[in-house]
Amino acid sequence: MRNDIILAGVGGQGILTIATIVGQTAVRRGLRVKQSEVHGMAQRGGAVVAHLRVASETIYSDLIAPGSADVVLAVEPMEALRQAHNLRPGGVLLANTEPVKNIPDYPDEQALLDHLRDTPRHLVMDAGAMAKAAGSAKAMNMVMLGALSPCLDLPEESLTETIREAFQRKGEDVVAANLRAFAAGRAAAVAVL
């Protein structure tokens, strides 16, 4: 098995949390992992991208070739568009609708979302609102991870176990909110994909 996932967002949005939870879960299950990250200057509010590869066999490249990703997951809509060319035919686009408008010439939002929805297999959703409904606006990333989960060859319980460990030191309430956010994202993805 092999899952090639590209994660995108704006520096500071925390896409690495998603990547790390998937990566840790995979290593624990004896799978091979490569996870290429962005550190340094681009993290200061710039466009960031991470490449995450999980497989049962040796993984060579740290980077996923354009046009071959199984999933592009973006926590910001314009960053979804920036990475969409990496999807393989039949690949899944997962995008949060909430824009980060830290540039003066941000494009027309509706046109952007319409364009994303042209992808044959997509889930374009307001993950921030879903996280809020689950009890924590900060859990937007866990909504996105939930939406990613049906696309992965990893059991749901293994992922939720890693989430529990990742947030444990912040208390039971935070753990519960993040698990609810995960479940909401997963349900949304299962319904449409």
Binding site: H39, M41, I64
Partner: protein, 530 residues
């Protein structure tokens, strides 16, 4: 032992820790920072009593490591590629003194300049210093090479360099650790003269280094990191250096499926026998290497390019920028280079100063004063505040290397530019700004140095900086007149006052002055427990 999920940087750190390291010395710099940070966060390193504090700059770090090596223990020095320029004096001469305890010099190169001002290739430094060097293909090799590099350093009595690149340094993979070795005891060198590089000793040491070159080549020939893949089609052979091997394998799926004979090259100097076998058998050879055409140039020879060698110098690969699976596939003739279609809705999103960053308010005040100054110029430096070159600020006119703001302002003032202003962060100042300020004090040059003191090394994520809390004392100690060492607090409510102070020092004083704009980095402030 359980497998660990580690960044390439972290794998080097864990490998060195397990190899009996006694001290890590470094100055932060992308993509090398996480090596030291990993050791600082490691309970095991704490238990083992490892030295793991940041140094003032890479030169200090290199020489501190040499001191630890002198005392018989294992040391590691970590830096980004341009940091090796700063450490070069110590690095090159440590090859002449030789080492006692092992020294691993880790240089993290940044091809494509994700977070750097050039893409220099540290392998040239390894060759220049005439020491063995290693280039891991993956995180497991990064882990393993920390130990074999330290072993090799002790066997050959020279520093050994490990060259990593951004894509390996900042990519996580699962690695298998090995049982840890104990630290070495303190043990002094028997020949007391070896480290005294008087010409008579240096000549003897240098002859020994030259004589050792054959041993280094033999070590490369015997290294498990260098190996030949037989391949079935000798029309095109491949030399795959470091992580380029991964992109090659990605194109075919596995070693068995790769039709080309391949030299996987990860330990230098070049293993001549292995390389000779590949060249003899293949009609043509493609060289895949991250960074400069280091190996390729050697194969072309002084009169090249020759028809039988392909790579970055022949247009088969881009001359600049990092490799990826697509450019390697294109060079192998396995498909055209994928170019994404233009997306009219897409806009660039460059990095920017954080919301509420103190530098924003320093620049606003500085811009106002400079707009009154006519043809004055502001010389910038390396850090978050380099982003002040971009809109909406467009406040700095240069960014060259660590500390160059102060020295360039002085040189421009010497030429007659008025006003000449330097903008430098607190950590960059203590790294390389102190000595040029001393030059300016000596001549009472007409410059104003604005030290943006956010009490941390911000760009790389908020590391401790050795001058924290001491910036005024340092300036006063250098001899800047006390009345011209001013402190402002870059907040919106202080704007008028800050403009007044800057105007007095930049426009109203014909001599050296320092304005310290002091407010903590909002990123480090946010991370502190409330």
């Amino acid at each position: 032992m359980a497998r660990l999920l580690l960044l390439g940087d972290e794998a080097v750190a864990q490998g060195a820790l397990d190899a009996g390291l006694s001290g890590c010395y470094a100055y932060p710099g992308t993509p090398s920072t996480e090596i030291m940070e990993y050791l600082q966060g490691s309970p095991e390193a704490a238990r083992r009593g490892l030295h793991r504090q940041w140094s003032a700059n890479e030169k200090c770090a290199m020489e501190e490591a040499l001191g630890m090596s002198y005392a018989g223990r294992r040391a590691m020095v970590c830096m980004k590629h341009v940091g090796l320029n700063v450490a070069a004096d110590g690095f090159v001469n440590a090859a002449i003194t030789g080492t006692h305890g092992g020294i691993l010099v880790v240089a993290a190169d940044d091809p494509s300049m994700h977070s750097s001002q050039n893409e220099q290739d540290s392998r040239f430094y390894g060759q220049f210093a005439m020491v063995p060097f290693l280039e891991p293909a993956n995180q497991q090799e990064a882990y393993d090479m920390a130990r074999s590099g330290l072993d090799l350093s002790e066997a050959m009595e020279v520093p050994v360099m490990v060259r990593v690149t951004t894509r390996l340094a900042h990519s996580r993979a699962d690695i298998q650790p090995a049982p840890a070795r104990d630290q070495s005891p303190v043990r002094l060198p028997r020949q007391r003269q070896r480290f005294v590089l008087l010409p008579s000793v240096a000549r003897r040491n240098y002859d020994r280094l030259v004589a050792r070159q054959a041993d280094f080549v033999a070590a490369s020939e015997a290294s498990s990191y260098n190996r030949l893949l037989r391949g079935r089609d000798a029309s095109l052979g491949v030399v795959a250096c470091g992580i380029a091997f991964n992109y090659l394998m990605e194109c075919f799926g596995s070693e068995a499926a790769c039709p080309c004979p391949v030299l996987k090259l990860s330990q230098y100097p070049l293993p001549k026998r292995l390389l000779g076998q590949l060249l003899e058998r293949c009609e043509r050879v493609l060289v895949l290497e991250e960074g400069a055409p280091f190996v390729e140039q050697m194969l072309h020879g002084p009169l090249g390019p020759v028809e039988t060698v392909r790579g970055r110098l022949t247009g088969h690969l881009p001359r600049t920028g990092e490799l990826n699976p697509s450019v390697v596939a294109a060079a192998l003739g396995l498909g055209a280079l994928a170019v994404p279609a233009a997306e009219p809705l897409l806009r660039p999103r460059p990095p920017r100063l954080c919301e509420g960053c103190p530098h924003i308010f320093s620049y606003k005040a500085l811009m106002e004063v400079m707009s009154e100054a006519g043809e004055g110029r502001v010389f910038g430096d390396i850090g978050c505040y380099t982003l002040g070159a971009l809109p909406p600020f467009e406040s700095i006119d240069s960014c060259v290397d660590m500390g160059a703001s102060v020295s360039m302002a002085k040189g421009a003032a010497d030429a007659g530019l008025v006003p000449a202003v330097a903008v430098i962060g607190d950590s960059t100042f203590t790294h390389s700004g102190i000595t040029p300020l001393l030059d300016a004090v000596w001549e009472n040059s007409n410059i104003t140095v604005c030290i943006l003191d956010n009490d941390t090394t911000g760009m790389t994520g908020g590391q401790d900086s050795v001058g924290q809390g001491k910036i005024e004392q340092i300036c006063l100690g250098l001899g800047v007149p006390a009345e011209h060492v001013r402190v402002i607090v870059p907040l919106p409510k202080n704007h008028a006052e800050n403009v007044r102070v800057l105007r007095e020092e930049i426009l109203g004083h014909a001599g050296v002055s320092v304005v310290i704009a002091r407010r903590e980095c909002i990123q480090t402030q946010r991370r502190k427990p409330h």
